[in-house]
């Protein structure tokens, strides 16, 4: 098992002068999972984006440590998988082309079996050659999961894990999170109390204003 830890210290985010959250502290190691809760507009998605390294923070510090060495901020994307409602894939490409494209840009070796198995796992193998623009919102949500686990990330970030998914889709997400929780860091941002079972601990952002 690869040792990975995430340390968040005194984190603060402002949009212009509006405070989103402040004095946020937590740390997670592999095999630990966290639920980020809070009412609408509390900054759950903002925090997920900051942890993913795609949005800057206004104060404090975030560090990823892998096998005792701090990961360079510019390389964080190699270790992170993100699923969220605001993650949009390329509509003009097919499901398979999207995944192949992501694998190539990430510098992964393209193994047809890997992508076919992934498409099979998310239940979209039969639609692999269809353009994403023809997919329903639930199918697109499944594709987001495929794109986020393609590179076997050490940290899985999920914002609203079961939105747009049917029963089979929800079952897939539950199994995926259970699998990742055993060896990796999983962070789930949600308002749904049913999803709290995905985490070992809960942070409510309403308490950090």
């Amino acid at each position: 098992m690869i040792k990975i830890s995430l340390e968040v210290q005194n984190l603060k985010k402002l949009f212009s002068r509006r405070l989103i959250f402040k004095e946020l502290d937590f740390s997670l190691n592999q095999s630990q999972s966290l639920i980020i809760a809070g009412k609408n507009g509390s900054g759950k998605s903002t925090l997920i984006k900051i942890i993913a390294g795609v949005l800057s923070h206004s104060g404090g510090n975030i560090r990823y440590i892998k096998e005792g060495k701090e990961i360079d901020k510019e390389k964080i994307f190699n270790f992170i998988g993100l699923v969220s409602p605001y993650l949009i894939l390329y509509d003009e490409f097919t499901a398979k082309e999207n995944l192949e494209l992501f694998a190539r840009i990430r510098g992964l070796k393209i193994e047809t079996d890997l992508i076919d198995n992934l498409l099979n796992e998310i239940g979209l193998y039969d639609r692999r050659n269809d353009l994403l623009r023809t997919f329903s919102s639930g199918m697109k949500q499944r594709m987001k999961y495929a794109s986020s686990i393609l590179h076997n990330p050490l940290v899985l970030l999920i914002d609203e894990p079961t939105s747009n998914l049917d029963l089979l889709g929800k079952e897939f997400v539950q199994n995926l999170i259970q699998r990742y929780r055993k060896e990796k860091i999983v962070i789930v941002a949600t308002n749904d109390r049913e999803d709290y079972s995905f985490g070992d601990s809960v942070i409510n952002l309403d308490d950090y204003k």
Partner: protein
């Protein structure tokens, strides 16, 4: 390098399927050259005017097409997935490569069309024109790419692009007009050394500065 190439390939395949920039650019070139042709009519215009007008068409073509690489990602909401799969420098250089290919293609179309339509546009030092054409395209692609990245985050994208581009591209365009004028007059390459050094410096500065500032622009 491979990652940069695959980002370029993504944009290239995407452009072939959506024709996001290409159709608008080709239409713009046809309209712009036609307007110049009709406005000159049967008048005999000085050769210098043709050199200037050539780069005016190139400048406005670049304004109407090169911002699409970043603006289309922002408008479609695909910026996030790109941030999650690639290093910012790879993204910038992939987009730069795409804009470079696009500007070479459209400027070649403009040059061929211009040469065919305007019989008075005679280049006497073709070698000089080719060097200026290559260095000019690199400069235009370099500066347009970073400006596109900046304006893609703004609300008034359409108006902001030419406003920001004008002062940044002005020294480049002035130098290109000057060198094209020299090539039309048949002046030797040695006499335009200073102008070429300015072009090379511009290209190096723009690309280096773009790489240095891009990550800050991209993250917020």
């Amino acid at each position: 390098m491979k990652k940069i190439f695959y980002i370029f390939l993504k944009d290239f395949s995407s452009e072939l399927r959506t024709r996001y920039a290409l159709n608008a650019l080709v239409m713009f070139i046809i309209v712009a050259v036609s307007i110049i042709l009709f406005s000159i009519g049967s008048e005999k215009a000085p050769e210098n005017i043709f050199a200037g007008m050539f780069w005016v068409v190139v400048f406005f073509s670049a304004m109407s097409g090169l911002s699409r690489t970043f603006v289309s990602e922002e408008e479609r909401g695909t910026t996030l997935i790109l941030s999650l799969i690639a290093h910012p420098t790879s993204i910038l250089l992939g987009k730069f490569l795409f804009n470079l290919v696009l500007i070479f293609f459209i400027n070649t179309v403009i040059a061929v069309l211009y040469y065919t339509v305007f019989s008075d546009f005679v280049i006497r030092n073709f070698e000089m024109f080719v060097y200026a054409f290559i260095l000019g395209n690199i400069g235009i692609a370099g500066s347009s790419t970073i400006i596109a990245a900046i304006i893609s985050k703004a609300n008034a994208k359409g108006t902001l692009y030419p406003v920001l581009s004008f002062p940044i591209l002005l020294p480049l365009i002035l130098m290109l007009i000057e060198i094209t004028k020299f090539s039309v007059e048949g002046i030797s390459l040695n006499e335009a050394t200073a102008e070429f050094l300015v072009l090379i410096s511009y290209d190096i500065i723009m690309i280096t500065a773009s790489i240095m500032v891009f990550e800050i622009i991209w993250r917020d």
